[in-house]
Structures are given as structure tokens and as C-alpha cells.
């Protein structure tokens, strides 16, 4: 355990964050995009926990990570509802085709 430090955690979270971004940017399907967002959130959670474990912030990070997990759940619920509505309106959930904001 002793050779695993803060940097490892941070690298893992960076990889996870990058994968999340990659997923959000490259996937066409809105649900896949949401999954990317979950990865990003979890990358942040890892950071919180890691800084909490290695820094001088006892339990505060963990608390924040818990909040984020709860929020992620709520966010997923709302986002999926939005995706359903999008599907109702546009008959698909491909984010690159839904560009009505342009106008």
C-alpha cells in the first residue's frame, strides 16, 4: 500500500475524466453521452476522496463524494426524462442532429 500515493489516484481520475470527455464528445446517442457525464462525475469523486485521504481535510471530501453520487442519481433521472422528451419531439436521440439552438 505504501507505494500507492496521491499521484496514482490523480492519474486514474484524469484517465477516467478523459474517457468521460471522450465519451461525451464522440457518442451520438444521448444516453451514451449521459454515461460519459457519469464518468466525469466519478473522476471528480475520486479526486475528492483522494485529496481527502491524503490531505488535511478529514472526511470533508468523502462527504462531498457522497453528495455527488446522490446528485448524479438525481441528475440521471432528470436527464433521462429530458432524453425521453427529446425522443418524443425529434424521433431520435442523436445529439448531433438536434441543433435547434443554433437559430
Amino acid at each position: 500500500m505504501s507505494n500507492i500515493g496521491l499521484n496514482h489516484f490523480l492519474i486514474i481520475s484524469s484517465i477516467l475524466f478523459s474517457l468521460g470527455i471522450f465519451g461525451v464528445v464522440t457518442r451520438k446517442n444521448a444516453v451514451m453521452v449521459l454515461m460519459g457525464i457519469e464518468l466525469i462525475l466519478n473522476a471528480a469523486n475520486i479526486n475528492f476522496v483522494a485529496f481527502s485521504a491524503f490531505g488535511n481535510f478529514p472526511l470533508k471530501g468523502q462527504m462531498m463524494a457522497l453528495f455527488v453520487i446522490v446528485l448524479a442519481a438525481a441528475e440521471a433521472a432528470i436527464a433521462l426524462a429530458i432524453v425521453l422528451n427529446i425522443y418524443k419531439n425529434f424521433n431520435n436521440v442523436n445529439v448531433d442532429e438536434i441543433d435547434n439552438l443554433r437559430e
Binding site: D96, D99, R102
Partner: protein, 698 residues
């Protein structure tokens, strides 16, 4: 009869003709006999004026009755002080006599016109005009202040204008009316200036107050010169109205009006208003002003008399004779003979009105023929007209037993004594010369009209004596031309009641240094009492006494000489007048063409005015309009510059901003794809850049 009744009666005399005018002029078109109302009012006015004359002269001989009401009270005015203007009437002996003269002649002319104007299409309007004239003239006579006098003065000018141009279809008549009005205005301008000087000096228009202030030593601009100027300026009004030299040119032309109008307005009353004005302001005239007045009077007496010698229009001869006689009156006032000047006004009013009415009678029966060269022999056809005309001619020539002799002799004696006191004998010489000329041209007129053989047989056959309504005024005026109405002594008017009791020279109020030595004020030493009234020095009285008999004999001699020459020329035909005219060529033409006054005025004043208007027109067109147009062009130029600046600089900036924004928008629009993932990539890269920059910064 008390004073209030007298004042009321005089107000009735003033306003009754106005009522007659209003009624006649308003109902004249519908009511054929509207003129009868005017005749009725003038008859009442005549009766009232006789009453006023009698009561005033019998019971209030030495008192002037004044009644006034406040008209405008301005309170205290800055600079000028307290100002209150009154309206009022003043009945003194002079105004009472003038009232009677105006009312009598006006009434006679009214009666006369009933026949003379018969058949005229504006019959009622004619009588209406006579009414407003009588009203205005009564106003001049009755007023106690110079402002009201000026108002009525203009009203008289207006009614004169209306009556001269009564037959306005004739070009000459309407021209004459305009000429009379405009020439009168020139004189009135001077009078107006005089009134203004009086007002700013004395803050009142009332004669008595003005004279009191002058007597107390208050002078316009504190100088005797300006007192003289004020008198001369006021006299300018008289020059216009009384047709004095050099404004006499309107009166002969005014003969275009109906003949009874000439008798009333242009012989007896209105033209005498100027003389009346001078009698009113007589006490404030300085020696210089009086000398000026005398010179104007002498010129006005002499020049028209020479013109009258050659005129052939019966009315023109009488018109020039009127100017000449008015010149006599003005000259008399100028040499200090106040009483004789006024006396001549009265006697002249009667016999000159008579002469005009007589000429009207002749013209009427000759079917509007006015050329005396075409008349002749009318004595048999028109005996009453002839005999009355003869009486008037004797009166105007100054033959004893006539009224004219009394007044004219008085004037000549005064002029002679004035000469002996001051050395200015020229006035006496002029007076005697004019008396000679007057006798000559009057008898020339009489002989050519009534004596000899008729020249126009057709018209002669139709000539007839005029109807009773035209004869009666002639007879009335002829009776009034006898001496007995004025004095019991046919050779000395001063002993008579008119001059000894009624008309006495008022004491001068002018400072001693500015007046003639022979005019003195009450209470001064070196005076002589004339009938209790102290006005002239001992020397003057003595001079009058010594001048009386020479003047009488000379005037009698020249009058008879004049008549004799006329008799030799035109009745006996001892001298061929045509030959004489031929040998005197230029002189004759000079007189026949009225000394070329009309031509001179036409060339100098009328054409001068036209030339001035042309110059002013040019000035307007090119200088004033040029300045206006120039400023307009300048404004336009500035505005176009400003417009250019607006369009290209201000608008350019605004448009540039808009275009620039648009351009930026076009570029930036590219980033706005609407795709969430694009935004996200941009955001991530932006954050990365910011983080890198932060790291670099650290």
C-alpha cells in the same frame, strides 16, 4: 338763460348736424325724402346759434363760458408728470360769432342746394355730407383744446374730400379731392408737430392752460425761438386749411365740387378755419412768428390776385380771390390786427359765399357753362342774381357802405401803422396793390358775365332767373354785406359794436423780449386803454389813428381805379385786351398758367416722390432683398455643409458601427453550431488554455 343752458344749446348745435348726417346717410337709399330731416336739423341749428349769439353777446359779453369733462386721466406718468386730457367747449365772443356764421351759411347752402342739386342721383348723400361738414366745423369752433380742434380739423378735411369728389365719376373731381386731402395733410403734419411740442412742454391741450403757462414764463425747450417755432408749426395747419402760399394749389382744383359746396366750404367756413386757428393761438405768437405769418399772408394775398386777373372760369376767379382774401386775413393777424382779421373773416364769409352762390345761380341757368368768355348780357335775364352779385363785388372791392370796406380798410390801416412802427411798409404796399387787383378782376368778372352782348346765343336764350330757394339766400347774404350790421358809422368800424364790444384783441402772453414792442400785457406801463382792454401801446394807438385816413383814401382810390380800369377794358373796350395780352406775352402767360405752381409741384414733388420711390424700390430689390437673399443663400450653404457632414461623417460612423457589428456577427456566427458537443469541446479547450496560461503564469 343761464350758462348751463347756453352750453347745452351749443352742444345741440354741435351734435344735431351729426344726427342729421347719420339719419340721412343711413336711410337715404330707401327714403327718398331723407334729406328733409337734414334740412330740418340745420334749421334748428340756425335758430339755436342765433340764440347763442344773442344771449352770449347781450348777457355775457366779457366772459368766456367754458365747460369741460375729463376724458383721459393717465395719472402720474414717468418723466411727464400728471396728465389729464379734458374734452370741453368754450363759448367766447369769437366762437359765438363763428357759430352763427357757420350755421347761417350752412343753412342757406342747404336751402339753396334743394334746387341746385335737384335731379342728382346721390341727392340724399349730398345733404348727409353737408351735415357731417357742419358737425366738424362746429367742433372746430366750439372746442376749448387743441387736440379736439385737431380731430375736428381732420374731420373737416374728410368732409371736404367727400364733397369735392362728390361727382367722383369725373376724373378731374376725384383727382381734385385727392389733391385737396394730400395737400392739407402736409400742412396738418406741421400742426401735429406743434401740438406735440405743446403737449410735451405743458402736459395739456387746453388753450387757457397753455396760455397761463406761457404767461408764467414756461417756454418750449426753454427758448423763445422754440416758442416762435411752435407758433409757426401750428400755423402750418392754417397754411394747408386756409390754402395759403405755398399750399394754395388745392383750392382752385376744389372747384370741381358742386358750387354750393364751394360757397360753404371753400369760401366761407372751412378755409376760414385756418384763420380761426390763428386767432385762437394769437396770444402765444411771438414777434418772429407773427412776421412769418404776415409774410405768408402777403404772398398769399398777392400771388392769387395776379392769377385771378386772367382766369376765364367763373369759379376759378372766385377761388383765387378767396385765397387772396384769406391772405389778407392772415396778413392782418400777422401785423397784429387781430380784430380786423377776424372781422374780415366774418364779412368775407358773407359776401364770398354770396359770390359763389351767385355764380352757382349763373352756372345753373347757363346749363353748367362756367367760362365767362361765353357769357354776357345776363343782367336782363337774371336781375336779382345780377344786383346781389354787384353788391358782393362792391363789398369785396372795398367800396364804402359795404361790410367789405370796413374790414378791408381796417386791415390796410393796421398794415400801414405796422409799417410806421416797424419799418416793414411792404405789407401795406402789398395790401393796396391787392386791393387794386381785386377791384379789377371782380369787375372784369361782373362785366364779362352780366354786361355786354351775349356770346353764346343758344345758351343765352335758355337762361332764366333762378327759383326762389336759390334767390333768397343771395338776398339774405347781400343784406348782410351792408355796413349797418356791424357799425353805425360806415367809415370807421372801430366805433361799431362788433369791434368796440365783441371782438377785442386779447393781451399777449409772450415774454416781453419776444414780442413786438407795441403789444403789451395788462398792468404794464406805457399802454393805452382801448375800450378798457389793454393790448397795445400808446404808439400803436396813435399810429392807428394817423393811419386811418390815409389808408381809407388810398384804398378807396385803388378800388375805384380798379373798377374804372375794368370798365375801360371790358365795357367801353377802349383798350383791346387781346392785344394787351399779346404785348405782355410772357407776363400774361405766367398769370394764365397760375405761376406754374402746379407744373412746379408736379415736377419737383410728385415726380420727386416717384423718383424717390423708384430709388427706394431699387434699394429694396437689390440691397434689402439682396441682404435677405444673401443670408438665405449663406444659411443654405451652411446647411448643405452640415448636411454633407451628417450624411457622410455622422451617418457614416453610425453605419460603420452597424456594418462592423454585422461583420463580426458573420464571423462569430460560425461558432454557433447548435451542437452541444461542439460547445463542450470548445469549453474544454478554453478551460485547458486558461489552465495552461495559469500554469505558465505561476
Amino acid at each position: 338763460m343761464n350758462e348751463t343752458t347756453l352750453v347745452s344749446l351749443s352742444l345741440f348745435i354741435l351734435f344735431a348736424p351729426l344726427a342729421g348726417f347719420l339719419f340721412t346717410v343711413l336711410s337715404g337709399k330707401k327714403l327718398k325724402s331723407a334729406y328733409l330731416f337734414e334740412i330740418f336739423t340745420i334749421s334748428l341749428v340756425l335758430i339755436s346759434s342765433i340764440t347763442v349769439l344773442f344771449v352770449k353777446l347781450a348777457y355775457y359779453t366779457d366772459k368766456s363760458i367754458v365747460s369741460e369733462i375729463g376724458w383721459i386721466d393717465l395719472g402720474i406718468v414717468p418723466v411727464l408728470g400728471k396728465i389729464a386730457i379734458e374734452l370741453g367747449v368754450m363759448i367766447d365772443n369769437i366762437s359765438a360769432i363763428m357759430l352763427f356764421v357757420v350755421a347761417l351759411i350752412s343753412a342757406l347752402v342747404h336751402y339753396y342746394s334743394i334746387e341746385y342739386m335737384k335731379g342728382d342721383k346721390r341727392y340724399n348723400r349730398y345733404f348727409a355730407y353737408l351735415g357731417i361738414f357742419t358737425f366738424s366745423m362746429m367742433g372746430i369752433v366750439l372746442t376749448h383744446n387743441i387736440l379736439m380742434m385737431y380731430i375736428f380739423w381732420e374731420l373737416v378735411g374728410l368732409s371736404s374730400y367727400l364733397l369735392i369728389g362728390f361727382w367722383y365719376e369725373k376724373k378731374s373731381a376725384s383727382d381734385a379731392a385727392k389733391k385737396a386731402f394730400i395737400v392739407n395733410r402736409i400742412g396738418d403734419l406741421g400742426m401735429f408737430a406743434g401740438i406735440l411740442i405743446i403737449f410735451i412742454t405743458y402736459h395739456t391741450f387746453t388753450f387757457s392752460k397753455i396760455f397761463e403757462s406761457i404767461a408764467a414764463g414756461v417756454l418750449p425747450f426753454n427758448s423763445e425761438f422754440w416758442l416762435s417755432m411752435t407758433g409757426i408749426l401750428l400755423f402750418c395747419g392754417a397754411i394747408g386749411k386756409s390754402a395759403q402760399f405755398p399750399l394754395h394749389v388745392w383750392l382752385p382744383d376744389a372747384m370741381e365740387g358742386p358750387t354750393p359746396v364751394s360757397a360753404l366750404i371753400h369760401a366761407a367756413t372751412m378755409v376760414a378755419a385756418g384763420v380761426y386757428l390763428v386767432t385762437r393761438i394769437f396770444v402765444m405768437l411771438t414777434g418772429d412768428a407773427m412776421l412769418f405769418i404776415a409774410i405768408i399772408g402777403a404772398l398769399s394775398a398777392f400771388i392769387p390776385a395776379t392769377i385771378a386777373l386772367t382766369q376765364t372760369d367763373i369759379k376759378k376767379v372766385l377761388a383765387y380771390s378767396t385765397i387772396s382774401q384769406l391772405g389778407y386775413m392772415i396778413m392782418a393777424l400777422g401785423v397784429g390786427a387781430y380784430a380786423f382779421g377776424f372781422f374780415h373773416l366774418v364779412t368775407h364769409a358773407f359776401f364770398k359765399a354770396g359770390l359763389f352762390l351767385g355764380s352757382g345761380s349763373v352756372i345753373h341757368s347757363m346749363h353748367h357753362e362756367q367760362d365767362i368768355m361765353k357769357m354776357g348780357g345776363l343782367k336782363k335775364k337774371m336781375p336779382v342774381t345780377y344786383w346781389t352779385f354787384l353788391i358782393f363785388s362792391l363789398a369785396i372791392s372795398g367800396i364804402p357802405l359795404s361790410s367789405g370796406f370796413l374790414s378791408k380798410d381796417g386791415i390796410l390801416a393796421s398794415a400801414l401803422s405796422f409799417g410806421s412802427l416797424t419799418g416793414y411798409y411792404i405789407f401795406a404796399v402789398t395790401g393796396f396793390l391787392v386791393a387794386l387787383l381785386t377791384a379789377f378782376y371782380m369787375f372784369r368778372l361782373l362785366i364779362l358775365t352780366f354786361h355786354g352782348e351775349p356770346k353764346d346765343h343758344h345758351k343765352y336764350e335758355h337762361a332764366h332767373e333762378s327759383p326762389l330757394l336759390m334767390i333768397a339766400p343771395l338776398v339774405t347774404l347781400a343784406i348782410l354785406s351792408f355796413f349797418a350790421f356791424y357799425t353805425m358809422n360806415p367809415f370807421d368800424a372801430q366805433k361799431g359794436w362788433v369791434l368796440s364790444k365783441w371782438v377785442t384783441t386779447p393781451a399777449s402772453v409772450v415774454p416781453e423780449s419776444a414780442r413786438y414792442p407795441f403789444m403789451v400785457q395788462s398792468g404794464e406801463v406805457n399802454h393805452a386803454e382801448i375800450h378798457g382792454n389793454i393790448t397795445h401801446s400808446v404808439q400803436y394807438t396813435e399810429a392807428m389813428h394817423s393811419a386811418h385816413y390815409p389808408a381809407m383814401f388810398i384804398s378807396l382810390f385803388v378800388a375805384i381805379l380798379g373798377i374804372f380800369i375794368a370798365y375801360m377794358f371790358y365795357s367801353k373796350k377802349k383798350i383791346d385786351t387781346d392785344k394787351l395780352a399779346g404785348s405782355l406775352g410772357p407776363v400774361y402767360k405766367f398769370s394764365l398758367n397760375k405761376w406754374y405752381f402746379d407744373e412746379f409741384y408736379q415736377a419737383v414733388f410728385v415726380n420727386g416722390t416717384i423718383g424717390l420711390t423708384l430709388v427706394l424700390n431699387w434699394f429694396d430689390k437689390y440691397i434689402v432683398d439682396g441682404i435677405v437673399n444673401g443670408s438665405a443663400a449663406l444659411t443654405r450653404m451652411f446647411s448643405s455643409i452640415s448636411g454633407f457632414f451628417d450624411t457622410y461623417v455622422v451617418d457614416g460612423l453610425v453605419n460603420f458601427t452597424a456594418y462592423f457589428s454585422g461583420f463580426v456577427g458573420i464571423i462569430l456566427r460560425k461558432f454557433q453550431t447548435g451542437k452541444v458537443q461542439t460547445y463542450l469541446i470548445l469549453t474544454v479547450f478554453s478551460v485547458l488554455i486558461i489552465v495552461l496560461m495559469y500554469v505558465n503564469y505561476l
